[in-house]
């Protein structure tokens, strides 16, 4: 069995007790999130650092294949292997979808960046309704947006990028194309924000507000932890008959 374990975002202290117990009972832990002190303090043994397999400038396929081969090498010798993943293993992790087609796989929930960002922004995503999207799929499938809802657009670090440039997310980034697409649904002066929650790698969270027409200029502030947040616009119409029912 291969188990993907959510590590949380800010630090490994965010993982659930279920996640911790899973790591403690594993024959081997392959880690994409690292805190050596935490592993020792919590009796998590046989931890292998997978982070060097995720290389700057490589294609996704090459990076993921290296990681996948490492997981299968452990699983194929009958080990009970866990893969420690930043965030939630079912939110934006292609490896989980690939592995579950090859091998018995399960996932243990973790606090996701979606959770930490709604905390950072102090919003309830159900009030306006909220859409979470990947920037590349949004543009590839020319998805139409409904401007009354909040939108979290993930992976603005890699728009149209065939390679993983984590040291320079600005390289080959087609953020102009995203700005143009968003401008079809939202006013050009609409306030939007680049949001990065606090992680192991940063000292605090970051929220940078600006107008949609200035999105391209803000590319300099984008890192691999950045998500674009677009608040929904206040509704312009209401179903009065339904309101009467709600207030009856």
């Amino acid at each position: 069995m291969i188990t993907f374990v959510g590590a949380g975002i800010e630090s490994l202290n965010q993982m659930t007790l279920e996640a911790l117990q899973q790591l403690q009972s594993s024959d081997r832990v392959l880690a994409l999130e690292w805190d050596a002190e935490f592993f020792v303090q919590n009796s998590i043994k046989n931890v292998v650092d997978l982070r060097p397999l995720y290389r700057d400038g490589d294609k996704d396929e090459d990076n993921y294949k290296r990681i996948e081969d490492s997981i299968l090498a452990s699983a194929n010798i009958g080990e009970n292997v866990s893969i420690l993943i930043p965030g939630h293993p079912r939110l934006g992790v292609t490896l989980v979808n690939r592995m579950q087609k090859l091998y018995p796989t399960k996932a243990i929930s973790g606090i996701s960046s979606f959770c930490t960002m709604i905390d950072d922004l102090a919003i309830d995503p159900l009030e306006k309704g909220t859409v979470i999207l990947d920037a590349n799929r949004l543009l590839l499938f020319e998805m139409e947006l409904s401007n009354q809802m909040n939108h979290f657009i993930y992976h603005v670090c890699s728009i149209g990028a065939a390679r993983t440039h984590y040291s320079s997310p600005q390289r080959g980034n087609l953020i102009d194309t995203l700005q143009e697409h968003l401008s079809k649904a939202f006013p050009k002066d609409h306030s939007i924000a680049l949001v990065s929650s606090k992680t192991n790698y940063s000292t605090s969270n970051s929220i940078i507000w600006f107008q949609l027409c200035d999105l391209s200029k803000q590319l300099k502030s984008v890192t691999f932890d950045t998500t674009l947040f677009i608040p929904g616009i206040r509704p312009k119409r209401i179903n009065k008959k339904f309101l009467d029912q709600l207030e009856a």
Binding site: I9, L32, E33, R51, P52, Y54, R55, D56, D60, E61, N63, Y64, I85, P86, G87, G92, V93, T94, L95, N97, R98, D134, N136, R137, L140, Y154, H155, C157, S158, G160, A161, A162, T164, Y166, S167, T199, Y201, T223, F224, D225
Partner: protein, 36 residues
């Protein structure tokens, strides 16, 4: 080697089921042409 200073992006830029999507689009396009 450069050290990553952020979480890795673990979602492939190319959708995992892209080939199936393309096949369906192609099939639909052919059947639309035949109807026309």
């Amino acid at each position: 080697m450069e050290t990553n200073t952020a979480h890795p992006r673990l979602l492939s830029v190319v959708p995992i089921d892209l080939s199936e999507i393309l096949k369906e689009i192609e099939t639909e396009s052919v059947s639309n042409q035949q109807r026309d």
